[in-house]
């Protein structure tokens, strides 16, 4: 397995270079370094001299990808792409356009993102699996039919509606929790209740339908009939046998997103004033801060690759027949 992991890590290098190149190309097709400087310097009294100084200070005064003026390797290394990309592979994210170290920002903003994402993830899995098993238990009855209808309705509603509706109902009308905000330590609890409830409710529809399909596929198999023949209760059959055997498809969907929990939720963080990495990315895109955008895309790619690797490893844990080699 160790050799497999090393091989997968090596495979990821060209992927990351490709992702970097694409991010770079897409960003600079839309924005030139001059545009970035103008955006940063504001609207009033921006002179060409100020733009030049801004670019020089941040290393954007070099050619984008190929430097004609240099010789040898310098043609490639003395460019914006090389300068800004190579350090990423050592997880040196450099500085944002406002001069703040990006690595420090990521470390600081990762925790609020996790504080929302982990409860949503765990409570969501629990609620969704239980709800899906309930529907399977009452399959072909009115509970199943209305449960599916309910799931489709939940799926059809925009997350924005849940957020605004949740803030209005629980925060404004019932006045049970703060409408938005964030605090550190245990004080964060009261701020997390509402986004977590909304995050969980927002995910019920699609996940329940997906899990229900998996469970229904399993329920007709021979081992289930054997379990029932042994006299096991339906609940025991569902939770002990069906759930265990349905783990591989469930894990495929779940484990891959675990590392991405770090990246936070774009909408929830914005509306609830949570200073996480989701709102950090959105702000960077709006302010055309390429340094942050490329760092977050790179980090997202690394975490996604890590998630895929973890998924493979998890298969070996839930199914002894799977071997990585």
């Amino acid at each position: 397995m160790f050799a497999y992991i090393i091989r997968r890590i090596l495979y990821s290098l060209p992927i990351l270079i490709g992702v970097n190149l694409m991010t770079f190309s897409l960003f600079f097709i839309v924005n030139s370094p001059d545009d970035m400087a103008r955006m940063h310097l504001g609207q009033k009294r921006v002179t060409e001299g100020a733009i030049e100084k801004w670019k020089q200070a941040r290393g954007y005064d070099k050619p984008l990808i190929y430097n004609e003026a240099e010789s040898g390797v310098g043609k490639v290394t003395n460019t914006i792409f090389y300068d800004k990309s190579v350090r990423l592979f050592a997880f040196d994210f450099g500085y944002a356009d406002d001069g703040r170290p990006i690595g420090e920002d990521i470390l600081q903003r990762m925790w609020p993102s996790l504080a929302i994402a982990i409860p949503i993830f765990l409570v969501g899995i629990l609620v969704n699996i239980c709800f899906a098993l309930l529907l399977v238990f009452f399959r072909s009855t009115y509970i199943d039919v209305w449960g599916v209808v309910f799931s489709v309705v939940l799926m059809s509603i925009s997350t924005l509606f849940y957020i605004i509706g949740g803030q209005y109902l629980l925060g404004k009308l019932m006045q049970l929790v703060p409408i938005s905000g964030y605090d550190t330590g245990f004080s964060a609890f009261k701020f997390l209740v509402l986004p977590v409830i909304i995050g969980v409710i927002g995910g019920i529809g699609s996940s329940t339908r997906w899990y229900r399909t998996i469970f229904l596929e399993e329920i007709g198999k021979d081992y289930v009939r054997t379990a029932r023949a042994k006299g096991l209760s339906e609940i025991r059959v569902l939770f002990r046998h069906i759930l265990k055997n349905a783990m591989i498809p469930i894990l495929t969907g779940i484990v891959v997103i675990i590392p991405l929990l770090f990246m936070g939720s774009l909408l929830l963080e914005s509306f609830f004033g949570v200073p996480g990495l989701g709102s950090y990315t959105i702000d960077a895109i709006q302010s055309q801060d390429f340094a942050i955008v490329r760092s977050m895309v790179f980090l997202g790619s690394v975490l996604y690759i890590a998630g895929l690797l973890l998924t493979d490893i998890s298969y070996t844990m839930v199914d002894p027949r799977v071997r990585l080699g």
Binding site: G42, A50, G99, L169, V177, S180
Partner: protein
């Protein structure tokens, strides 16, 4: 059967848990503290102002910062020599750290002093001697900390000294020192520092003697030092390099030498660009290892103001605290008519600041901000379009007033016309709409009549604005009210009121321009014009449709060419836009700051200036050059009237509107008056924290019955499922039996 008993036990256990939760909720609500209070209990009843910031500030360095959002924070920390009187209108300058308003001394080329009424072309230099008050102290800061031997503690730091330093408060020792003239001179030198990249350097280099050359010198030295330092920090000791136009006269006096005459420099002296920066603070932040820790002047401002920035976490909140070293500064004892009745002089002569601490919270979305304001968790709020109808109603006379809901909460509304203008510009370099020929002028005049900005204000701004009659907004010298101030090209003055000219007149002008019925008289083709925009978002489509409708009123077809903001700016720079919308917010309350937007040598395409329409009229330019250096008075007013008349007739802009600011304040927020020029107005504000606490408790009692109702509904839904489950289990048991 045992399975059913087990299930019953389980249900009883769950009911017990629910009861326990209910009792806990009930008990926790007994202390009367609202559950939705976002602030810690220890802060209840404290003299803390809660406000918001919508996006993280880019700069807090006074030489770099040039945005209203940033001034809100560092405007309370830094003290330039002058300030605007908090209450008096029109806006008036008064001394802040200066002893008095500096008086200009004019000199000719050889240094002879000229009389006060000397002609501007005779004046080679203007000298301003600025005397500052003695005894003003800086806020406590590690840069000033000294040991018993009198040596600086943190001015020669090594990497190991910084090992455990992450934020500024990790430096345990703090010190202070007296504000001296040298600090003001140091900051003016910083405007030319290549590493600082001040946005006003180019402008000031045109006026402050020697600043341009100083910038060249610093650039050279900076590059040398940067090369030598490699990846290390670069520190340029500006005190080693004298600047010819700015010098220290004595400990409390410094002198600025201006090229020619530039009376607007006094307004700049009320802006943070001219606030003091102590050289030792710059030296402290320029040490190795500081940049990596984000310890710099851009992040941790150091000043003599009423407040100091104690926490700078732009990801979440920024906290200003009272500066313990702040000098004795007193609330003004005079204002304009009506201020006494409004209670704005109740604190006259009392020592400021009144508020102990200000917490700015990052609140990006308008809905949570508005709802938290209504719950009493923010002390003041603007009004977004979403919440406008909830807050404001228009009474018979067209005046805005608060709705019953707001009145019930005793919320106060303050309004003021902003010193800004939003206009629709014609590119004067364009072949169709541009140029100073008769045909193009009449076309522009026709369009100016057709585009009804009164309608725009009513539809898109909820009535928050007034239609502009020219480039100068109300509150600025040169603006005229009533008949004298109306634009005769687009309006008539009838029965003491403005009346927009008819579409028939617009059509007539259009026909005279060579486009009868909106068609080119020569080719017969319909007239198609292009509106260049950088709009985004769903609301923009409605605005474009409205523009199209306005043009179609006189049978002109308008095509909207929408691009992203970068492309739009590029079009504007290259002169490829035809019609566009643009805006300007005053730097200072002087007509020069608006009329320069139409000054030819300030054209965007040819001179990269702020004249976006590229309007260039030699007569206007000549008048502008004369007017800009004059003192306010009837002579200046005459010139302004002539200039405004020219541009109204030429119509390079459709004059658009001046926005009106609406701000709501809670009843416990005192001494609130909108001052659109002052950046340090926080020190005048006052709170009644006891009243706020009582109101918050009264307004935020948790409503629990919907929770129990939801639980009941849930139980009612679950019961059939439980019955079905029990039946199923019984059936399978029977089958097994």
């Amino acid at each position: 059967m045992s399975g059913l008993l087990h299930l019953r036990e389980k249900i009883i256990r769950h009911i017990n848990i629910l009861l326990l939760v209910y009792l806990t909720l009930l008990l926790s609500s007994c202390d009367g503290r609202p559950w939705n209070n976002p602030y810690p209990a220890v802060d209840d009843g404290k003299n803390i102002l809660y406000s918001v910031f919508l996006q993280r500030p880019k700069h807090l360095d006074p030489a770099r910062s040039y945005s209203e959002e940033e001034y809100v924070i560092h405007g309370q920390v830094y003290e330039p020599p002058l300030q605007y009187h908090y209450l008096k209108r029109p806006y008036q300058l008064e001394p802040l750290t200066a002893v008095s308003i500096p008086v200009p001394v004019y000199q000719d080329k050889v240094g002879h002093v000229l009389p006060d009424n000397a002609e501007p072309d005779q004046i080679a230099y203007t000298l301003y001697d600025i005397h500052i008050k003695p005894g003003i102290l800086y806020q406590p800061h590690p840069a000033f900390a000294r040991n018993k031997a009198g040596e600086f503690v943190y001015q020669s730091l090594t990497e190991s000294d910084l090992e455990h330093v992450k934020i500024l408060s990790d430096f345990k020792n703090r010190g202070t020192r007296e504000l001296i003239a040298r600090d003001y001179v140091y900051e003016i030198k910083r405007l030319a520092h290549p590493g600082v990249n001040s946005p006003i350097f180019s402008l000031m280099a045109d006026y402050i003697d020697g600043l341009k050359e100083y910038g060249d010198l610093l650039k050279k030295r900076y590059q040398e030092k940067k090369k030598a330092a490699g990846d290390g920090a670069v520190y340029l000791d500006l005190e080693r390099y004298p600047l010819s136009g700015v010098k220290v006269v004595d400990r409390y006096t410094y002198q600025i030498r201006i090229k020619g005459k530039y009376p607007q420099i006094l307004y700049w002296l009320a802006m943070p660009f001219f606030a003091p920066v102590a050289p030792e603070v710059d030296r402290f932040y320029s040490q190795n290892g500081m940049k990596e820790r984000n310890l710099n002047l851009d992040w941790y401002p150091v000043g003599t103001g009423a407040y100091m920035l104690e926490e700078n976490n732009p990801n979440r909140r920024m906290v200003l605290e009272k500066n313990p070293n702040f000098r004795a500064d007193y609330y003004p004892s005079s204002g304009e008519a009506g201020d006494r009745q409004a209670g704005l002089l109740d604190d006259a002569g009392k020592r400021m600041p009144f508020i102990d601490k200000v917490i700015y919270i990052l609140e990006k979305e308008s809905i949570p901000y508005w709802n938290k304001f209504l719950q009493g968790y923010y002390d003041a709020s603007g009004i977004s379009s979403d919440s406008f109808d909830q807050a404001i109603q228009f009474v018979g006379s067209g005046e805005a007033s608060l709705t019953e809901e707001m009145k019930k909460k005793r919320i106060k509304l303050l309004t003021a016309v902003e010193t800004s203008i939003f206009y629709m510009g014609f590119n004067m370099l364009d072949k169709v709409v541009g140029g100073q020929n008769e045909r193009a002028r009449k076309l522009r005049q026709a369009i100016s009549i057709a585009v009804d900005y009164d309608d725009y204000i009513s539809i898109f701004r909820n009535g928050r604005g007034i239609a502009s009659q020219g480039p100068i907004p109300p509150g600025i010298f040169g603006y005229l009210e009533g008949k004298k101030g109306h634009n005769p090209v687009t309006y008539k003055w009838e029965n003491g009121k403005l009346k927009r000219r008819s579409l028939a007149e617009a059509r007539r002008l259009l026909a005279e321009a060579g486009y009868p019925d909106g068609r080119d008289a020569k080719t017969g083709k319909p007239l198609l014009l292009h509106f260049d925009s950088a709009g985004s978002g769903p609301g923009e489509k409605a605005v474009w449709d409205w523009y199209k409708k306005q043009f179609s009123k006189i049978d002109i077809q308008l095509e909207v060419r929408n691009t992203d903001y970068n492309r739009f700016r590029s079009k504007m720079r290259d002169g490829n836009a035809q019609i566009f919308s643009w805006g300007w917010n005053a730097d200072y309350p002087d007509p020069e700051n608006f009329l320069f937007l139409l000054y030819g040598p300030n054209g965007k395409v040819k001179h990269h200036g702020e004249n976006a329409a590229n309007y260039d009229n030699p007569e206007f330019n000549k008048l502008f050059e004369k007017m800009k250096n004059m003192d306010n008075g009837s002579d200046r007013q005459k010139l302004i009237d002539q200039m405004v008349a020219i541009v109204r007739y030429e119509a390079p802009w459709i004059w658009g509107f001046h926005p009106k600011k609406f701000v709501l304040y809670h009843s416990w927020y005192l001494n609130a008056k909108l001052n659109l020029m002052a950046q340090n107005s926080l020190k005048y504000k006052k709170l009644d924290p006891g009243k706020r606490l009582a109101k918050r408790r009264a307004w935020n009692k948790p409503v629990l019955w919907p929770v129990w109702l939801m639980l009941l509904v849930l139980i009612l839904i679950i019961i059939p499922a439980v019955i079905a489950y029990m039946k199923k289990e019984r059936r399978s048991m029977n089958m097994r039996a």
